[in-house]
Structure formats: C-alpha cells, structure tokens
C-alpha cells in the first residue's frame, strides 16, 4: 500500500519532497539526494518534464528511487502522452511496485526548451484521474478491454494553486479532481499563510474533502524570489521576505561568508512548515527544493519534523 496513503489516512503529518530526473542519463546526483531523503519523507514526487523542459522520463527515476528504497510519486502530465501512453506507463509503474501518482495538465511545450514538440493534451489532470479511477473500478483499460491480472490501484493526487484570481475556478477544478479520484492535493508554493488560510476556507466552504499538503519552496536568494514572482504563476513571495534575503546577501558579502541567503531561505521554509503543523492548517507539506534536495533533511530537522 502507498506509504503516503498510509500516513495521511492514519492522520500523520505527510511529508513529501520533489525531484527532477536528469537532463541526460546519469542519475548519480538524484541517487545521492535519494540517500539523504530516505527515511526523512513519506515519498518523493518525480516531475514529468517540469516547465516543459526535456529530461529523462519520470518513470525511469521512479524505478530507480523505488529500487533505492525511497517511495516515488509518479507525476503524470497530459502534455506529451495520450491516454494509451499514460495508461501504459501506469501499468509499467505498477509492475515496479510504484503505487502513488499525481496528475497534472502539464506546461505547454512552447514555454519549455523543445518548443517544436506537438502538445498532446488528450487528457488533462481531471481526465487522467478519471481514466485511472475507471480502470481501477472496472478492471478495464482505456478502450474497455480487460487488463490481464486485473487493474493496479494507485494512491492518486493532484495539484492546486491557492493564489489564483478568480479563486472560484481553482476551487471548482479542485472539486473535479477530487471527484475524479484525487485523494491528496499538493499546493503551489505557499509564502503567505493568510492567502493559504483563505484558500482552505474556500475548500471547506465548497465541501471538498481531501488531504491537502502545503507546497513549500525554500528560497535561495532575493533574485530568485523576484524571478519567481514575475514568472511563475501562483507564486507571490512577500516583499519583506525578499528584503531579508537581500540583507542576508549584503551581510554575507561584508563578512565574506557564502550562502547566507540560502541558509535564511531554509530557515524561512522551516518556520513556515512548523507554523503550518502547529496551527494544524492542513495534512502535510510538500517541499520543492528545486535542485537543492540535499537541504530537505535540514529543513525538516529545523522544523522539528520527522515521519
């Protein structure tokens, strides 16, 4: 059974991290990060060519993680694969004991690094969830044919962007994702707890019952934070956080110490996680370290969190 499912359904505070496959075929860095994450998180999302930038396929890294004793979450987008390819991947994943997945629509190829690729979008996030749910319920494939040995079961998740105007549309899509079989939800990076609380109230009001894991992005510096504010939908790092990061950079320069802003970013992430847990705002956190996965154990330790 999915370890994440077990944890969330037992009322434990879920902890997940995120990792991207290499742009190449050397998985050393990923496997080193996996060593550090093992036993510290319930599962690790493996991204599916995030930002529409070409990487080794996620299923490959999922298999490697599974073999290394780290629970992978297979992210599946509808951008590059039609329903047959998606279902085929789901079956292959199940064959390797991968039982947790997360459905996403996927960034459009034109915003990525292979812009000539044909976008597929046979199914969106809701469609992928519906397809897998139907497969599990009927034992049939996407063409209505029997699956040899029965259909595998997945602990299915989806994503949501709490900072969205009009929020009604996100809540409505969230409702559809949950109705389609999403049992846990990871959010876009949260930097403002008031925004997050407003979102949670709306979810409650809409009567949506699911496990919500707050997205945490440890900031690395003021520049990166500003970049995300300008370029990443749904991200709004408050100005005071950016100012503090800039001040840390200035202090580091003065004292000749490297890495102060990243250190501060990790502290901020830890504080955020601790607050979310202490105030019992939601069911867990999803830490997106974006290449700095090795920092995740420290962030969790500082937040006083373990699985």
């Amino acid at each position: 059974m999915s370890i994440l499912k077990e944890a969330l359904e037992a009322g434990k505070f879920g902890i997940t991290a995120e990792m991207a496959p290499p742009k190449g075929y050397d998985f050393t860095e990923q496997m080193e990060a996996a060593e550090l994450l093992r036993g510290k998180v319930h599962a690790v999302n493996v991204t599916d060519m995030q930002s529409a930038c070409l990487k080794a396929t996620g299923l490959g890294l999922c298999i490697k993680l599974k073999q290394a004793g780290v629970e992978p979450i297979l992210q599946m987008t509808g951008r590059d694969r039609n329903r047959m390819a998606l279902m085929g991947d789901a079956l292959a994943a199940a064959g390797f004991g991968i039982d947790t997945m997360l459905a996403l629509t996927g960034d459009h190829p034109v915003v990525g690094d292979c812009r000539d690729a044909k976008p597929v979008y046979d199914l969106d996030s809701v469609g992928i969830l519906n397809m897998l749910t139907k497969m599990e319920e009927t034992g049939l494939d996407c063409g209505g044919n029997e699956i040899a040995g029965g259909a595998p079961k997945f602990y299915k998740g989806a994503a949501v962007t709490p900072l969205y105007d009009p929020l009604f549309l996100q809540i409505n899509k969230l409702r559809q994702k949950v109705e389609a079989g999403a049992m846990y939800i990871q959010t876009q990076g949260i930097f403002d707890l008031d925004v997050f609380k407003r979102f949670l109230e709306m979810v409650d009001k809409a009567g949506i019952k699911t496990h919500i894991m707050a997205g945490i992005i440890p900031l690395k510096g003021a520049g990166g934070a500003k970049y995300m504010n300008e370029n990443v939908p749904g991200i709004a790092v408050p100005q005071d956080m950016i100012d503090k990061l800039a001040a840390a950079a200035a202090e580091g320069k003065e004292k000749g110490i490297k890495g102060l802003p990243a250190q501060l970013g990790m502290e901020m992430a830890s504080e955020m996680i601790a607050k979310i847990k202490d105030e019992k705002l939601c069911d867990g956190v999803h830490i997106m370290a974006i290449g700095a996965e090795k920092n995740v154990p420290t962030i969790l330790e500082k937040a006083g969190l373990s699985i």
Partner: protein
C-alpha cells in the same frame, strides 16, 4: 470563415518552378475576405509571375472554391488554356477541389490555410473553432475552450495563467477566465459544476464524410 494567409512569394515561385504558362483560380468567398484570393490578389500574383517571365494564360474566380459543381464549370476555360500549372488562391479545400477538376495539370496553393475564424474588424481575424466535432459552446458560455485555451482544456483552467493572461501567449486572455466571466454575466455559473463526459477521439478519425444522402 476559413482564414487563409499568403505564402511567401518565393515559396509560390519555387512551386511553379520551370513551368512557363500558369493559370490562376481565385475564390470569391473567404479568400477574398482575407485578401488572399480575390480579384486584387489575382492581379498582383499575375504581375509577379509575368515579371518572372511566366505567361499567365487564364484566370478565373469561383464563387466558392470549395463547391465542386461551381468549380467544375469555372475550370472548363482554365483547362482549355492548357497551362503548365495552376495556382489556386483559396483555402486548402479549394486547392484540392480545383485539382480534382484538373486531372492532368499540377495545382499549387498560394496560401496557407490557418483556421476557422472571425473577422473581428477590418484586416483582423481571430481563431474561433478547431472543428472538434463535439461542440461544447452550450456549456461554456459560447466561448470555445478547445480553441481559445492553448491546451484545449475542457474541465477548467490550468494553473498557468498570470494576471488573467495565458502562459502560452501572454497577449491572449485565459479562455477559462473569459468563460467564467461570461457564465457569471449570464447567471449560469452552475454550468461549471456539471461533469463533462469524455467522448474520446474514436469517432473523429479523419477524413470524414457527411452525407444527407445516406452512407457514402
């Protein structure tokens, strides 16, 4: 209407190649409206061809290049002029229809066929329909998510909009925000709560034929 855009002249000339005599077929319908296949564009292309040393031996303009019977009648004079090749200044369908009626002469397009769209004002055409074959406009406030959403999403928006603009082309508003606003204005927000059955693509394998005379 079917929106067309002129191919670069060099591309058309490369298609014409060594042909010495050329006939031109224009279209009095969409291509005329798009300024890609009307009288004026036939004259313009004729001049370019003549300048390149080609002889334009016949020109005609069909009411609709997409209507076989009308094209058939117009093609009599074109075929009689025995051109080395024919340039059709219409949409992709018009080119194929003209070719059917010129069995032994090469037919070349002068346009790229872009989309089914609307002339929003003079000289501006917006894409409106992608011929999905399963119209959802009744559920989406008469705004097409298949066309206006860059991902053709049917269950609501992705997370990729920024300030109401699409991640794919920030000049475009997010289709689903437009749909939301329209449904709000028409007091039909409940339509967003309705589940949409996925019909798949099995019934839309092309090329298709619709016949009021029964099976083809």
């Amino acid at each position: 209407m079917i929106i067309t855009q002129k191919k670069p002249v060099e591309e058309v000339m490369a298609l014409v190649g060594d042909a010495k005599t050329v006939a031109i077929v224009g279209c009095n319908s969409c291509a005329t409206a798009c300024q890609t296949g009307g009288e004026a564009q036939i004259k313009e292309l004729s001049a370019i061809l003549e300048q390149a040393g080609k002889k334009v031996v016949a020109t005609t303009i069909a009411d609709y290049c997409c209507m076989n019977l009308g094209v058939k009648a117009k093609m009599k004079a074109i075929n009689a002029a025995t051109p080395d090749c024919i340039i059709c200044m219409s949409c992709g369908d018009g080119v194929q229809c003209v070719a059917k009626n010129a069995p032994t002469t090469p037919v070349y397009p002068s346009n790229n066929t872009m989309y089914l769209g609307e002339a929003v004002r003079f000289g501006v055409w917006e894409e409106a329909c992608r011929f999905c074959g399963d119209c959802v406009l009744g559920q989406t406030g008469a705004i097409c998510p298949i066309t206006q959403c860059a991902k053709s999403l049917v269950n609501g928006p992705c997370g990729g909009q920024k300030n109401g603009k699409c991640e794919v082309n920030p000049e475009n508003p997010c289709a689903w925000i437009k749909i939301y606003e329209r449904l709000q204005a028409t007091n039909q927000l409940d339509k967003l709560m309705q589940k949409r059955e996925d019909k798949g693509h099995g019934d839309f394998a092309y090329p298709r034929t619709i016949s009021l005379r029964g099976k083809k």
